[in-house]
Amino acid sequence: MAEMTDQEKQLVEWLADMNEDGAFALAKKMLLEEGANPVRVLELCRNAMDIVGKRFEKGEYFLPELVLAGEMLENIGAIAKPLIKQAPGEEPKKLAKVLIGTVHGDLHDIGKNIVTFMLDINGFEVKDIGIDVPVKTFVDEINQFQPDVVGLSGFLTLAFDSMKETIEAIQDAGLRDKLKIMIGGGQVDETVRNYTGADAFGNNAIEAVSLCKNWMVVAA
């Protein structure tokens, strides 16, 4: 990223420090009054999100900060994105594709939504296919979206069997070798990972990001 001006440093700092009012007012002023490049402003936002992610990893930040960061990014994005006059093909290249959903029988989505957001701001192309997703839908979506990673989410203990069935169906469809599968949520642990046949499990959104990044490094 190019050298930052003092004003840009201020924006990054306020975003990273959860100064929502200050950051939003500054971003708005930069975009609407000073004609700042919206692509550059979004880049600054991502920069701030990197700091948020690092603080989460260090145990300084927790779920409330991830949620508020997501909200700040969305609000600034709502102003910045319509201002972007981008030529086709200019979008930043995504790291890899991740398909994510809550397995059938389970309606929980808070954890899945946070994982989706964190993967997105970390440069992954994420397709979230919702909650209570039937096995067949996962298989159809994989065929269509061609993800590198599939994330199966579930909060209830019934999700153990739903995850196992989903992974078996992916295997039966001949798709298992082409992708990595991670699971997460509520009661998921190594015992469940082993039971379901997933490649890995994660305890939180940052672990999900790390898993995906590590797999992409190995694949590259």
Binding site: Y61, F62, L158
Partner: protein
């Protein structure tokens, strides 16, 4: 509050005669639980039973049947209690047969078999914003008015007409006369009739639970708790603002949130005392949802979660009750903080916190309960379950921990019956 003795005075329509052997067994079981609370060594490690939809698996029926057939739940629950002989059992009827009551009140916060999920799924909570971010002032100024005109109509169809109730404060002297005219509103009348009908159904449900408690007492089995309660933070997060709304409020509405939680302590205490008296049971089950290590920083925990919860716990203790929080997920980092309560007054039930570590930090302050892992119970083998029970018996109970053995959050719905048999057999094998 008069002394509550765990179900001995519950009213049931029939008289259930306890044999002298059953009476002795009942008293021995109750004593085991109370010895743990009082930090005295019981004659052996007690084991408890908490189940919801696992009973459907055990009884070979669907979850939907379990939610709608009072007699069936009682029959299966009785069979399970007689087979596994726990020292205490949970409110099996109240926890399961909710269908008719939910229908009658038009409940909107759950999806349950036949209402949004299939007949074989459990009921699931719908995390939504049931209170808007700009409604703190209204709630704080007049909680009763807020419940009547906003909250209850949002969470249950039967209450919907009450959103047109007249504003009652200010109806003094003869102004009161014209002030009550809105009560002729057909929507309000219809709403009140629906609420009364729903109340009659809930009364039927409670009567079944009372009968069940009386029958189990006849067999010699006490209940593990009477009523439930809730942490002020969890009340606002789960049932009002929704999970993400609450997380944003930690930054956006900090002061008002703290004020509201302080106020909530008062009305939660009043509700809990009334319900504990109704069920004649001193132990109050308090599932906690947002205390876990992963959910907020230690500073946030000590600012937002713990202070109002501690006030609640102390209030319950001062009123003669025994709080039994279930510390959901992993709360290892919280142990030193939650130690700050009077000794010998509570049961701390842990879900994923390492019980040995909990015993080391809290063993001289509280009784413990738990915590055979759900993943082990559902996917493991009986010998692995046996080993997990043995581990807790040897490293907690036999080292002086006042542990009641149980699954981490009751029996997971999918637990194979042979694993449940292994858990109770091991609990007895390693108990003394």
């Amino acid at each position: 509050m008069q002394e509550l003795d765990g179900g001995c005075r519950v009213t049931a329509s029939q008289t259930y005669v306890q044999t002298p052997a059953a009476k002795a067994a009942y008293e021995a079981r109750w004593q085991r639980i109370m010895d743990c609370v009082n930090l005295k060594q019981p004659d052996r490690m007690p084991v408890s039973m908490f189940a919801t939809f696992w009973l459907a698996k055990y009884g070979g029926i669907t979850n939907r049947q379990l939610m709608y057939d009072y007699e069936k739940v009682e029959e299966i629950g009785e069979r399970a209690i007689l087979e596994f002989e726990p020292d205490a059992h949970s409110n099996l009827v109240l926890q399961c047969a909710l269908g008719p009551s939910l229908d009658a009140v038009g409940f909107k916060q759950l999806q349950w078999p036949g209402h949004g999920v299939s007949d074989t799924q459990p009921y699931q909570y719908l995390d939504r914003e049931y209170m808007k971010a700009d409604e703190y002032d209204e709630f704080l100024f007049d909680p009763t008015g807020y419940y009547l005109s906003k909250y209850l109509p949002r969470i249950a169809g039967a209450f919907e007409g009450l959103d047109e109730l007249p504003y009652l404060p200010g109806l003094h002297y003869l102004r009161m006369l014209s002030g009550i005219i809105p009560f002729i509103n057909p929507r309000i009348r219809e709403s009140m009739e629906k609420v009364i009908k729903a109340a009659e159904e809930v009364k039927r449900l409670n009567d079944h639970q009372f009968e069940f408690i009386a029958r189990m007492k006849m067999h010699g089995f006490p209940t593990a708790f009477g009523t439930t309660s809730i942490a002020p933070y969890d009340l606002i997060a789960d049932y009002f603002r929704g999970a993400t709304g609450m997380m944003k409020d930690l930054y956006r509405n900090k002061e008002k949130l703290l004020q509201l939680m302080d106020k909530a302590v008062v009305f939660i205490l009043r509700q809990t005392f009334a319900a504990a008296k109704q069920w004649n049971h001193p132990i109050v089950f308090i599932p906690t949802h947002w205390a876990a290590d992963a959910f907020m920083s230690q500073k946030q925990f000590e600012t937002f979660w713990w202070p109002s919860f501690r006030k609640l716990i102390i209030g319950l203790i001062d009123g003669g009750l025994i709080p039994m929080p279930l510390w959901e997920a992993d709360c290892t980092k919280r142990l030193e903080v939650i130690r700050d309560i009077p000794p010998g007054k509570c049961i701390y039930w842990f879900e994923r916190t390492d019980m040995v570590r909990a015993f080391e930090v809290l063993g001289d302050v509280v009784a413990l309960r738990g915590n055979i892992s759900p993943s082990l119970l559902t996917t493991g083998k009986p010998d692995e379950v046996d080993a997990a029970v043995r581990h807790l018996a040897e490293n907690v109970f036999h080292k002086g921990g006042k542990l009641t053995l149980d699954a981490a959050f009751g029996l997971p719905d999918e637990t194979p019956i042979e694993n449940v048999r292994a858990m109770y057999a091991a609990a007895r094998k390693y108990a003394s």
